[in-house]
Amino acid sequence: MNMTKEKSETDSHIDDVTYNVFKVGEKEFLLPVDTVREIIDVSRIFPIPMAPDYIFGAVPLHGGRVIPAIDLSKIHPTGEPLYSSAKLVVVNAGKENIGFLSETIPYLVSFSPDIPVDGLINVEEFFETYRVKGPWHGRP
């Protein structure tokens, strides 16, 4: 089952910024809504030997592409996550896609742009910081 993002039009002001909120352990993370490509159910995640620990594994997408599923609990102090019925938030990073594991079905939230938000992920920055630099390499 695929759930495509849907912008909630109710009680949001024109200037508001909408985020996709997902949960890992005790912590909530936010993604700008336009970076989210789709949210998919993951039944099987395949381990990637030699990858750093924050890469939980590989997930096949349509068209034969394979994307990494990232476990943010290995990067941020979130407490032990419960990925038993995990969703994968697939985001656009340039031409590529990567996925963040979430314990829950993500939901949308809108804020006025001048409110500072906690737990916001800048996808481009994340991609550059955490992309794998080499085998036997570990975390950045």
Binding site: R44, F46, P47, I48, P49, M50, A51, I55, A58, V59, P60, G63, G64, R65, V66, I67, P68, A93, G94, K95, E96, N97, I98, F127, Y130, R131, V132, K133, G134, P135, H137
Partner: protein, 771 residues
């Protein structure tokens, strides 16, 4: 290539004739509407002219003669000798219709019709004469006025009713054989084929699963049948007498009650029958699966063919890549004060567009090294007794599903002693280590080792041989070096396409991985006691030699499988000039699979070259053995290779007709010439600028962008190029053209369709060929 038979030439002819016919059709329509723009008529004239030349080459004389007549009409229009009156435009349209019909016939495989010709030509001549005599003193305003009059006239007389007969209504001519297509769409199609292939594999897997179930049912059925039979045998006949002894309870029954046992009897017989029916049905099912299997396999074969055809569509000739080295080689040679002859063979070998793009950098590095370090200066060469000019040969040839590229120079070779010294000074080796020549040579692939003492201007820009080797291995290719004091040859083997990969699937622990088949030398079973040299499996015995190896599960930290056995498999691979082995728990299968490049986020994990999804949706990674063994030296094995045959010379063929270019190329290549081609004067002039080694130019006169006269003029103006002989190849047989060409500096004049003997004579004159 060489042999280009007539049918192939006809294919080319039809492809290009379509373009010209459509140009003419559109132009004639414009004329009908009164648009008599000179540039427009010029374009039509050129289209008719080229069509004539192309037809002549494939000996379609009727098309040639009719288009020749069209050319005459258009020339008269161009030179303002007459006006595009309705009869003139009418006869042009009619001639074009006849040509269309003729080409259509040829495309359908029929011989060219000739009966229409003479009548049509006579009619055309009559129209021309009439039009010319009706022409008043031409001046621009009058022409415009006349054009308007024509326009008015044509609008009154519908084209269908003109006196030359009914005009065809479709203005777009299309024989249905050729179209132009966006490469990205081909990419999409290949992706789709990839998904279908995955589905097909999944189907095969499911069928196998179902077959197992069928087998189980079959087996259970037989057991049931056996049990029932036993039961029946035991009770059917013996019951009435024996049963009392078996079961004391039954002894209570009287004789009359035995009919119950008859029911039991009947029941067992029924069971027997049903079981037999089930078995029958299962046998039919099994037959069905056999047939089904066969059909799925056939789908597989068709998919392979389809994929092959579509892959072929995005293949490029490697000559276009080699051509890009001509300029840098010339410049680099000039910088280092050397004279180098660059020779190219096998230009028409085709290679996947993706590989084509990724090959430039590594090949450039090897070429640069050869020019800067390999080849000596003229003085040094003479003192060694070598020819004054150094030679660099780029060659390519197809070998099964791979392409073999060789970059070969006749320079001083790689100084292996220098490599050894560097390795020792960097503590990679001990000074007293005994190394064979091959082992020393393989040090060139160790990062940081180089034969040039300082990173000079030339090689300093390069990437290092270790990076070259990595780039080649990323393309699932291998590289080998053959080295001596008389030169170095780099032999590169790469798959001709990356779209679908033939790979070996192996198991490490519970996970499956792949290695592409073209780098695999052999898969052998190894026994821990005798074949493993080092206890950590870092070296094994392979055909009497010790080669480097790695135990995959341990290196990759894959959890061991429950049934860890002592017998393992070694996948022996060829990588940068050496053999290495990957030791795995189990080799499962060989399969054709779609490999997708690794996600950018993971691309740093260069030990994988891509990922694939198996039939049941499992993600499997493709392992790149070269990267596992990177930066380590090992014994080397070398093979001999065939030397490229000497070429007679390099000829540049300039003609706007594809048919003529193909025809001339095949004629020349059969005679061992290297052929470069250009479709107009400007393109030719650019090639001449980039290429020192052109011995002869064969050029047409009528061409778009820059015509032949201008090309001859430019060549003769150039100090560097003026000595290259120029043969004019044209369908303009008039003496004024011949005189003009020869006075401009052409050395020979050949009228199309040319006679092979005449061309041979001319070549003999310039190249001292043996007859």
């Amino acid at each position: 290539m060489g042999d280009l038979d007539r049918s192939e030439l006809i294919e080319y002819f039809i492809a290009e004739a379509e373009d010209y016919v459509n140009t003419l059709a559109r132009g004639i329509q414009e004329l009908e509407f009164g648009n008599q723009d000179t540039a427009q008529i010029e374009e039509l004239f050129r289209a008719a002219h080229t069509l004539k030349g192309a037809a002549a080459i494939v000996k379609f004389n009727t098309i040639r003669n009719i288009s020749h007549k069209m050319e005459d009409v258009l020339e008269a229009l161009k030179d303002r000798e007459m006006l595009a009156t309705q009869p003139v435009v009418g006869i042009l349209g009619y001639m074009l219709d006849v040509v269309k019909d003729l080409i259509q016939g040829i495309a359908e495989g029929k011989p060219e019709k000739t009966e229409v010709e003479s009548d049509l030509i006579t009619k055309a001549e009559a129209v021309i004469n009439e039009a010319k005599s009706a022409q008043p003193e031409p001046s621009a305003p009058q022409v415009n006025a006349a054009a308007l009059a024509v326009s008015a006239a044509t609008s009154q007389v519908p084209a269908e009713e003109n006196k030359w007969g009914k005009r065809r209504e479709d203005s777009e001519f299309f024989t249905g054989n050729f179209i132009k297509y966006d490469v990205r769409k081909i990419e999409d199609m290949l992706n789709l084929i990839g998904e279908i292939t995955i589905m097909k594999n999944y189907l095969i897997q499911k069928t196998k699963g179902t077959e197992t179930i069928a087998d189980e049912i079959f087996f259970s059925g037989r057991r049931l049948l056996k049990e029932v039979t036993n039961f029946a045998e035991k009770y059917a006949y013996s019951l009435p007498t024996n049963v009392k002894y078996i079961d004391p309870l039954l002894s209570e029954f009287g004789e009359l009650e035995f009919d119950r046992y008859d029911e039991l009897n009947l029941f067992s017989r029924k069971l027997q029958e049903i079981t037999n029916d089930i078995n029958e049905a299962l046998a039919t099912l099994s037959e069905f699966f056999d047939a089904f299997d066969l059909e799925v396999k056939q789908i597989g074969n068709m998919l392979t063919l389809l994929r092959y055809d579509i892959t072929e569509m995005r293949m490029l000739e490697i000559g276009r890549l080699f051509q890009r080295f001509a300029r840098p080689v010339k410049d680099l040679a000039a910088e280092s004060g050397k004279v180098i002859d660059l020779k190219i063979t096998g230009s028409d070998t085709k290679i996947d567009k993706i590989i084509f793009e990724k090959l430039f950098e590594p090949l450039m590095h090897i070429v640069r090294n050869a020019v800067a370090h390999g080849l000596e200066t003229a003085e040094e060469r003479i003192s060694k007794g070598k020819s004054e000019n150094g030679t660099l040969i780029l060659s390519a040839r197809r070998d099964g599903s791979s392409v073999q590229i060789e970059i070969s120079d006749d320079g001083r070779g790689i100084d292996t002693q220098k490599l050894l010294k560097q390795a020792v000074s960097r503590n990679l080796l001990k000074a007293d280590d005994e190394l064979s020549e091959e082992e020393k040579l393989s040090l060139i692939f160790v990062p940081g080792l180089s034969t040039s003492a300082t990173a000079d201007m030339v090689s300093g820009r390069g990437m290092g041989m270790s990076a070259v080797s990595s780039k080649i291995s990323d393309l699932s290719g291998t590289i080998e070096i053959i080295n001596s004091e008389n030169g170095t040859t780099f032999k590169i083997r790469i798959p001709s396409t990356l779209a679908i990969t033939n790979a070996i699937v192996f198991k490490a622990g519970n996970m499956e991985f792949l290695i592409t088949a073209n780098i695999i030398e052999e898969v052998i079973q190894i026994d821990s006691s005798s074949d493993i040299v080092e206890p950590d499996m870092s070296m094994i015995n392979y055909r009497g030699k010790h080669i480097q190896s790695r135990y995959f599960s341990e290196l990759f930290g894959v959890p061991k499988a429950a049934d860890d056995r002592s017998i393992k498999f070694a996948i022996v691979c060829n990588i940068s000039d050496k053999k290495v082995a990957i030791i795995v728990d189990k080799v499962i299968a060989q399969e054709e699979t779609i490999v997708k490049p690794l996600n950018e986020f993971l691309s740093g994990l260069y030990i994988y070259s891509g990922a694939t999804i198996s039939g049941d949706g499992t993600v499997r990674f493709v392992v790149n053995p070269a990267r596992i063994f990177e930066a380590q030296s090992a014994p080397v094995e070398l093979q001999s290779f065939p030397v490229a045959k000497p070429e007679t010379g390099v000829v540049l063929v300039v003609d706007d007709s594809l048919s003529i270019r193909k025809y001339a190329s095949s004629f020349l290549e059969q005679r061992n010439f290297t052929v470069l081609t250009a479709s107009n004067g400007l393109e030719a002039f650019n090639i001449l600028q980039d290429n020192d080694k052109i011995d002869l130019i064969m050029t047409d006169l009528e061409m778009p962008v820059m015509h032949g006269y201008e090309l001859i003029g430019r060549v003769k103006e150039s100090h560097k190029l003026r000595n290259i002989p120029i043969v004019v190849l044209t369908s303009r047989s008039a003496d004024k053209h011949k005189d003009k060409a020869l006075s401009a500096g052409a050395s020979d004049f050949l009228v199309k369709p040319f006679d092979e003997n005449t061309l041979s004579d001319i070549l003999r004159k310039h190249f001292q060929l043996t007859a």
